[in-house]
Symmetry: C2
Subunit: 207 residues, 2 copies
DNA sequence: TTTCGGTGTTTACAATATAAACATTACTCT
DNA sequence: AGAGTAATGTTTATATTGTAAACACCGAAA
């Protein structure tokens, strides 16, 4: 699995490398990530990472994988703190998603780097975070049964929602929206509006 | 401006470089783009591009700029072929957007590369394609006045729509949606569903 | 204890971005 | 037309980087 090997020379270099890479991406962006910087940060020679990852892409892939784990954890936590209403759980985990995506823009970018995926299209990775999607579909189905969400295939509804959320955070993170609304609204107001629009699309008032 | 310089040694190297870069991105993806390949493809020495672009990022930036021009042209053309109904124009130019984005996935990715933008955040570039947004907002306002679109600030409506569309094409281009619906629907059906959802959000039946 | 596979290091190399010095050509001014 | 100059292209050189290869060390299994 992805789990760390026992402690040899370094202790747990694989994990240390992933964390170093993560920090560098956060500080310098994906472009600033070099194997040599990662190695140096982990305190090993520049070729050491090759004992744990076949190449640079695979190291990044591991970082991405870890990112999706973290994201899922955040969403689960939010969900578990949201009481028993499926719609509230849905809203709460969605907010966790936004907070993660907008709190670590560089990280989020790498996680959704289509370029990387096109090269090292790892099927497992594509499915990563599928658990969140499934969760969401369940929520929608339950809410439909309760009559508080518009009928229709919840899978399609979920796809539409995911598109909106992903598109919004991507554009917002790249600062591509601000000039459209200028001083008229705060960022938070726009964010809330988009969320409201999603709930309207489901035919419910925002919880 | 960005306009080509007159013909010197090469003829119009700047433009040739942009086109070569574009072709390479299309064939090999953004990662496969090297200054040297671009130069070779344009038939000049590997350092020649530096007479036209300060560095690699700026070459890519020029490619992106050109991409937004092309996209705007496509959208304008679609719009002009759509008759006089503002909603039909809106729908038609939106479809042109989808066709462009999904027809040249690598290109679209580069155009929206947040990584590049984070490094060379060119204000002009951020505003690029703003003309399309403005067009869209106008359409919405007119349609509102005609009573066929739900009231509300059309700027916010447009942001929500742009988010959905951008998110959808990004995810679809990276093949991150297919496994969610599997064989249940065709790609086209899903695409249509998302568009329908957008129109529903505006409170209109799809034209 | 010996041995061996896993882990880290050193050394080496090729590709690349980019700078610097040089060469050539086209346009301007007379 | 001819000289001068700036724009454009080439050659050469350098530092960074990804990655391979050969070597070294260490802990566990025998």
């Amino acid at each position: 699995m992805t789990t760390a090997k026992a402690a040899y020379h370094h202790g747990d270099l694989r994990t240390a490398l992933i964390e170093a890479a993560l920090a560098i991406i956060d500080e310098l962006g994906p472009q600033g990530l070099t194997i040599r910087k990662v190695a140096h940060r982990a305190g090993v020679s520049h070729a050491a990472p090759y004992r744990h990852f076949p190449d640079k892409d695979d190291l990044i892939l591991a970082v991405v994988e870890r990112g999706f784990e973290l994201l899922d954890e955040e969403m689960e936590r939010a969900r578990s703190e949201a009481g028993s209403d499926p719609l509230a759980q849905f809203a709460s985990s969605g907010e966790a998603y936004l907070n993660f995506a907008m709190g670590y823009p560089a990280y989020y970018r790498v996680m959704f780097s289509g370029d990387l995926l096109a090269r090292k299209g790892n099927e497992a990775l594509r499915h990563t975070s599928a658990s969140s999607f499934v969760r969401m579909i369940d929520d929608l189905r339950i809410a439909q049964d309760m009559g508080i969400v518009r009928p229709g295939d919840p899978t399609l509804q979920a796809i539409s929602i995911v598109s909106t959320v992903h598109g919004f955070v991507s554009l917002a993170n790249d600062n591509r929206l601000h000039h459209l609304y200028g001083e008229k609204y705060t960022d938070q107001q726009v964010r809330d509006f988009v969320l409201t629009a999603i709930f309207e699309g489901l035919g419910v008032d925002q919880p």
